[in-house]
């Protein structure tokens, strides 16, 4: 139920100086955060809902707000990441952003960047993948390339999106590996909300000048991107795996350091919300966690022992951390904005694996596909059914069963050659 509005009247005269925090669009906030990291080459190809980010950055470069940076407008996402690959290999801090089909169109380069260990940072404004064409938010794009060897971080809020970008550059360059920061399309990218951006000086202290691990340089020539045959390919892949595991160690350290530096707890592997004493723990990634937290507050008020795990680091997948966070729960509910047709929820599959040594059941809730709203009430209803042990293994939130059933019937009635 809604609480009645109780607004406090404005206190004193309105300050006409820029406050520490600002009410700005998520894309603008991300663009400014990226700008604070002083990228040297930014390349972009527009795709909804990533557009505002690169528009802002292009303007920042044009106006001189972001100095010493090349902004390259390219003809495709494939080219965008390729330009970033070249720039990074030549020793520049490189950044790009995309969404959905764009990520798929650059897929080959996504694998290539990680294979060559180039510390590129990319923002992914998460969006569904067609067909049917759909411009709205879900996590299908990130899931499609979850195994490309990049570190994948999911932001819950625009504030976290900012913070994750600052941490992403550090992580990428320390380990020499690319990092993707996933931000829910529209829901975060187009939302105006309060964010706090650190000062350039603070960021300069946080993020040292880019020192590439390897660089194309006539003074010390190297061959990058050699052909590796069966005799060594496994070793290369194993080393990539090791690097991801190292990232798993480094991410919480960086988060702690970030907290100490900027006074904000963000990033890391995962966060828990009211998991103390929780029988049911909901696990999700990205912006849906805000609604989940509201729902949990509501259910807790009603005596439901429920909590949440907000997963920030999806790749490398933190099996141990997830298992630990869910250790005391009697059941886990994974709410995720993606569906692997014929399999179910990919995040739920990972969580199931994390809990393989326990008897804790994992319930999968597929929600928000293609931008379908996820109302708090619907979530509460699901969680209540879970409490009552009525939840099926996989639930499709607010699915229009009548439409589905009608289509199934029609499908079954069709036979070839008639």
């Amino acid at each position: 139920m809604k609480t009645p509005i109780q607004l406090t009247p404005p206190k004193g005269p309105v300050e006409l100086t820029l406050p520490k925090a600002r009410q700005i669009e998520g894309s603008r906030a991300i663009a400014e955060a990226v700008g604070l990291c002083r990228p040297q080459v930014i390349c972009a190809y527009p795709i909804t809902p990533q557009t505002h980010i690169v528009e802002e950055l292009s303007a920042m470069v044009k106006t001189g707000e972001l100095m010493d940076c090349e902004f390259i407008n390219v003809e495709s996402e494939f080219a965008a990441l390729s330009v970033a690959i070249g720039a990074s290999a030549a020793g520049a801090r490189a950044y790009t952003a995309t969404s959905s089909q764009g990520l798929l169109y650059m897929a080959e380069a996504v694998y290539n960047a990680s294979g060559m260990q180039l510390p590129i940072v990319m923002t992914l404004g998460n969006r569904a993948i067609g067909a049917p064409i759909n411009i709205w938010n879900d996590h299908s794009d990130a899931m499609a390339l979850r195994d490309a060897g990049w570190v994948l971080l999911f932001a819950e809020t625009n504030q976290e999106a900012i913070d994750l970008h600052l941490q992403a550059f550090r992580l990428a360059e320390e380990l020499s590996t690319p990092v993707m920061v996933c931000v829910d399309g529209f829901i975060l990218t187009h939302a105006y909300e309060e964010v706090e951006l650190p000062t350039p000086e603070a960021v300069d202290r946080w993020l040292p000048k880019f020192q590439p691990r390897q660089v194309l340089d006539p003074a010390e020539p190297i061959t990058m991107g050699a052909l590796v045959g069966p005799e060594s390919f496994s070793e290369v892949r194993y080393l990539a795996h090791r690097k991801q595991l190292r990232a798993l160690e480094r991410i919480p350290e960086l988060s702690a350091e970030f907290n100490a530096t900027f006074g904000r707890n963000s990033g890391g592997i995962l966060r828990t919300y009211k998991t103390e004493g929780a029988e049911t723990i909901v696990l999700a990634m990205g912006s849906i966690n805000g609604t989940i937290e509201d729902a949990i507050d509501e259910l807790r008020r009603n005596g439901h022992a429920i909590g949440a795990v907000i997963l920030t680091t999806f790749r490398p997948f933190p099996y141990a951390s997830v298992a630990a966070a869910l250790k005391n729960a009697s059941q886990a509910i994974v709410v995720e904005k993606s569906l692997t047709a014929g399999m179910g929820g990919p995040l739920a599959a990972d969580v199931t694996l994390a809990l393989a040594n326990t008897s804790t059941p994992v319930y999968s809730v597929i929600a928000g596909l293609g931008g379908r709203p996820i109302p708090q009430a619907s979530l509460e209803s699901i969680f209540e059914r879970a409490r009552d042990r009525e939840l099926p293994e996989t639930t499709f939130l607010d699915l229009h069963w009548d439409a589905v059933n009608q289509a199934i019937t029609k499908e079954l009635s069709w036979t070839p050659h008639t």
């Binding site: 040297q40 080459v41 390349c43 010493d68 940076c69 090349e70 390259i72 407008n73 390219v74 003809e75 495709s76 494939f78 080219a79 965008a80 390729s82 330009v83 970033a84 690959i85 070249g86 720039a87 990074s88 290999a89 030549a90 020793g91 520049a92 490189a94 080959e108 380069a109 290539n112 060559m116 194309l216 340089d217 006539p218 010390e220 020539p221 190297i222 061959t223 990058m224 991107g225 050699a226 052909l227 590796v228 045959g229 005799e231 060594s232």
Partner: protein
């Protein structure tokens, strides 16, 4: 050399003796000043791609790459970064643990060499290293087909990259399949010499140098491993310019074309002398020069030494297709005025 000889050479320098027994056509010429010889004549050449690579015997691409890159290296005082598309050149030069490259070199993907090079160029500009120049290179597949969008983008933005297309007219790395640069009627693994119209389709063609010109970029040229001086001059010209530049180099493939391994340069020469592969230069979208044919030959002379065209001659002669191929050559000859009468030494002396 004795004193008298030196005097002679001085006399010569100031007077009208400009002719050398081998003119400016051989790789070197002991009678020329060293700086007028080709880069390839010099032991100091950079050997951008060095020995031990696994290219086939008589590989035109290995040769073309060294020709072009060594010239670029000279023009840029050795400060070159090369970006390579996937393909034969990449595969035969960099199998772990050995690389044949001696310059900084990056291979990313099949279709993105132009974009990766754009990125390298952007980084260098931003890092204050604009004295380091960027060369992108790929085969015809990586350039005219899968890499075409990236190439066009690089052109359109006028990024400071010299793109070298080593055209061997097919996907040789994967076993000789057809590309959009494969000539009509040619037999490849995907255009077999069977049926009523054997070999590659007689389409409308895809003239990438002219497409490059349509972008209005500062410099476009075609070149051939059969004319080293011309090739090096064009690479050198290209290196004098900033912005997007494109050189399309014909590099015969003995395996794919079905020629004997020693015929690589000869067949490239015949391609030009027949008019099928015109050599020209363009600046800002306009043709500024073409190389006249020295010794004109009918296209048949070019075709008949390649087994990929064998079906045009055996078991029966395919006059219709031979005429159609000759018509392509004739069109080039007309378009680029290749049979004009200023060929030979004069034109080359000017060039030198």
């Amino acid at each position: 050399m004795n004193v008298e000889a030196k005097e002679t050479m001085n006399v010569e320098a100031g007077q009208k003796i400009k002719f050398y027994q081998t003119g400016t056509l051989t790789v070197g010429n002991r009678l020329l000043d060293e700086d007028l010889r080709t880069v390839q004549a010099s032991e100091e050449r950079s050997n951008a791609i060095t020995s031990g690579h696994r290219a086939c015997q008589g590989c035109g691409e290995a040769l073309g790459a060294r020709y072009a890159l060594d010239a670029a290296m000279r023009a840029a005082n050795g400060k070159i970064i090369a970006v390579n598309a996937t393909g034969c050149l990449e595969v035969f030069s960099t199998p772990y643990p050995e690389t044949s490259w001696t310059l900084p070199w990056l291979h990313s993907l099949f279709g993105n060499a132009a974009s990766v090079a754009s990125g390298v160029a952007a980084a260098l500009r931003r890092l204050g290293k604009a004295d380091i120049r960027v060369v992108a290179q790929g085969g015809d597949g990586g350039t005219t087909d899968i890499g075409f969008a990236c190439l066009s983008g690089m052109f359109e933005r006028n990024d400071d990259v010299l793109y070298l297309c080593y055209d061997n007219q097919g996907y040789m790395n994967t076993g000789v399949q057809r590309s959009s640069a494969t000539p009509p009627t040619a037999r490849t693994a995907t255009t077999p010499a069977v049926g009523t119209a054997p070999g590659n389709i007689f389409g409308t063609g895809k003239d990438v140098p002219r497409i490059a010109m349509a972008h209005g970029i500062p410099y476009v040229a075609t070149a051939s491993v059969a004319d080293l001086h011309d090739l090096e001059r064009k690479v050198t010209n290209a290196m004098q310019v900033r912005g997007a530049r494109y050189i399309h180099i014909l590099v015969p493939c003995p395996l794919g074309w079905g020629t004997v391994t020693n015929a690589t340069i000869r067949v490239a020469r015949l391609a030009t002398e027949s008019g099928l592969f015109p050599l020209f230069e363009a600046e800002h979208g306009e043709i500024v020069a073409s190389s006249p044919i020295r010794r004109a030959v009918p296209v048949e002379d070019y075709l008949k030494i390649q087994s990929r065209f064998a079906h045009l001659f055996r078991p029966t002669r395919d006059d219709a297709h031979l005429a159609a191929l000759q018509a392509i050559a004739d069109k080039n000859i007309q378009r680029y005025n290749l049979l004009r009468n200023d060929h030979g030494n004069d034109a080359r002396k000017e060039a030198a």
